[in-house]
Symmetry: none
DNA sequence: TATGAATGAGATTTCATTCAT
DNA sequence: AATGAATGAAATCTCATTCAT
């Protein structure tokens, strides 16, 4: 059995989703692909916006969609609630951005990890990589992925419009992982990949509910998950 | 490999948790000393109460702890919102009962299934049984388990006081399942059972998020989950 | 200075005010002046009604007009709240009866005391008698007078329709006491009887706020009040 | 007999009780160390708060503790009901402040009047002064004293916590007035000062129930009350 | 004669949102 | 760029009242 692959630690730059209607409408992800990544100091406004977005993610994952109060978000960011309206036109838009960004960052992080996979990696090797990346993003101090995973099912459809696009793109990655494994006969015959895939995702997503750094190291969780999944879905002849 | 065990379909009678402070306070359990448990018709009051409790579970799992409005619950039960206060002293108490009952019913259902296991069942056979029972309870039309699984993490501690007791009892069952498998050397060496257990639970609980009868039959989901888990955690020998 | 006159202890039969619209409409004070007072046993219904009326008076004086809840009244009377509607058509009517009866009983009690005054009693002697009667009625275990005094000022006019009639009748008694004292030159010259009268009534009514049997005997309060009033209003040449 | 003393008309500045938990929490007293008390214009916030407090006092004295609705208070102050929550965390806290401030202002007003008494004033002269001050404060356009007097007896104990402190302080002043009169032999022998004091207070407090400027001038009420009280309690010698 | 079950109206309270500054 | 002050809409909860029994 091959050693679990680990994701490259380089952080994926988030294509943060812009707020369109309000004041600063500054895109943080701006100027992509410019030769020299001009690491300009973020303005005070940009920093407040980012603080608020993170505060919203944190509060959202702690209290849920309906429970997230703007006062809490603002307090966590060290401002007053009306300040939020300088950056987003409504609570809904703020949440929309949190979940869209959260899903996007997760997808990008896993995508980047897979893109960095060695040329000879098998389908199951790539599955290991995806598991590693997904779990680590979830465990990262940023609460974005957390917020998404805990709340999508309770979000009104209107709020998910952009998020579902990201989510479908992310789901496609996982479906690909499984169809590849089927194609290369690495998946155990008789196992329905349409069902195996969401079941496996459950292993990962549910970790958001119980894992904490005090309980165990993230490395060990990743290794255990990889081991269970690989044995759980692999064809019997070990690869 | 033995065929996946299926849970006996007889529903476990739930030790419904009593409402203590309000009006009817009728205990369903008691059955006043009669030798043969007289299956008396439930009174109109009891039926309304049960309808409200179920409505609360449904609404709770759809909208979350903070999003569940009493008007919705009442409407679903076909009464006006204040009627709820005839049976529970507060929204919080209603929710408390939903999650406590939900956890208890899940535990009892799985317990009963394990109790009905054939004498010769191995530790992994019993794991299959537990998976089957947990998933079927989750998929049952009753939204109780659903409501609990989706919401516990967002519940204020005060509301969980009684639920956590049930939850710990349920967790003990699963821990037992894994320690038994370790003891009988059925668990793959090197696999940390402390981590394997919550990861496996994730497979099951997350099904609440994506499974629907239209998507696939519950039988197939159960079989697939059992297959993944068994291969995922079993020592290499048996297969 | 003459010894304080005391009210004859015979209790004044209360012309309890009838409830007109509802069920039993039994008048308790019925058959007045009939030669032999047929002391028929009160029916169960009559007893419940009287218990409720007293409970209403008690609750009313403790919690005030807006604060008196029918549940409290019913509980104090040992029945359920809807039982009240068997005797009164509405909460308002119940309160109306409490304050009307309360005022009437007070007036009748003082009237009876004055009627029993010895032939030679001076105006100030009669004032002493009125003070004695008013204070003792207030201190009596029945909370009726209490309830009236504490609440009339906050009652909606509609509820006072019948009570004001009684109240005016009672006020007339006191005005008479003062005009008599003026006529007999017993009142200190220069003292405005129009103002002295309500000021004196204040001495008595306010006792409802502070007096309790633990604090002092009712006899001593009566004596002190009589002493203050007599010296306070009497013409200098002692009578 | 000395002419009734009148209270100096200068209004005693009320040590307004601060709102601790909510928004503005501005203390009116403080006056930040400036040598001369800079009579700065009150801010808009302070004015709204004071308007609400006065409106609450008015409504409270008209409708009683349980009958005072926030909508009424707000309407009287020219704002919407939720605005109240910007200044107080609950209806109870608002009422608590009204009665505490009301009691404090009454005490301060009477205290100031007594402090301004001429050096040679006898105990009975000082009693006259207190009567004058108490009645005038009650008759003042500010409804605070009114609100307290009419409602204390119906207030839940929790609300009175701070008010009772003020009340005890005020009661001490009156007790002192009477013990002084006893000490200087100005009180009629045989009169129990423990009972005379609350009876006299009743004369004053009950005026809140019946006095109105249309009925008579406040000056005449004060004079009549002083006359009754002085004759009512004075030792026979002086007159 | 009274209660159990429920409702409609209305109260307090919360909270996203606005707006002048 | 952000806040203080306030509002409108809606949620929970209370309570008088109804009605079948």
């Amino acid at each position: 059995m091959p050693a679990p692959k680990s994701v490259p630690s380089k952080t994926v730059p988030s294509k943060t989703v812009p707020a369109k209607e309000t004041g600063p409408a500054k895109e943080t992800g701006a100027a992509k692909e410019t030769g020299a990544p001009k690491k300009t100091e973020p303005t005070k406004s940009e920093r407040t916006r980012e603080r608020l977005l993170l505060a919203a993610a944190t509060t959202l994952s702690r209290l849920g969609y309906a429970g997230m109060r703007l006062v809490d978000v603002a307090e966590e960011a060290g401002v007053q609630a009306p300040a939020i309206y300088y950056y987003w036109p409504s609570r809904e838009q703020l949440i929309e951005e949190v979940v869209t960004v959260g899903t996007a960052r997760l997808r990008e992080y896993v995508e980047a990890a897979l893109a960095a996979a060695p040329p000879g990696a098998t389908a199951l090797d790539r599955l290991d990589i995806a598991i590693d990346a997904h779990l680590r993003q979830l465990a990262s101090e940023s609460a974005f992925a957390h917020a998404v995973i805990r709340n999508v099912s309770q979000l009104p459809p209107a709020i998910r419009s952009r998020q579902v696009v990201e989510e479908r793109a992310y789901a496609a990655i996982w479906r690909r992982l499984f169809t590849d494994a089927v194609a290369s006969a690495e998946l155990r015959p008789g196992l329905n990949p349409e069902l195996a895939q969401p079941l496996i995702i459950g292993i990962l997503n549910w970790a958001a509910e119980w894992w904490s750094p005090e309980r165990s190291s993230i490395d060990e969780v990743v290794a255990t998950a990889q081991s269970i999944v690989r044995h759980g879905v692999a064809a019997d002849g070990p690869h």
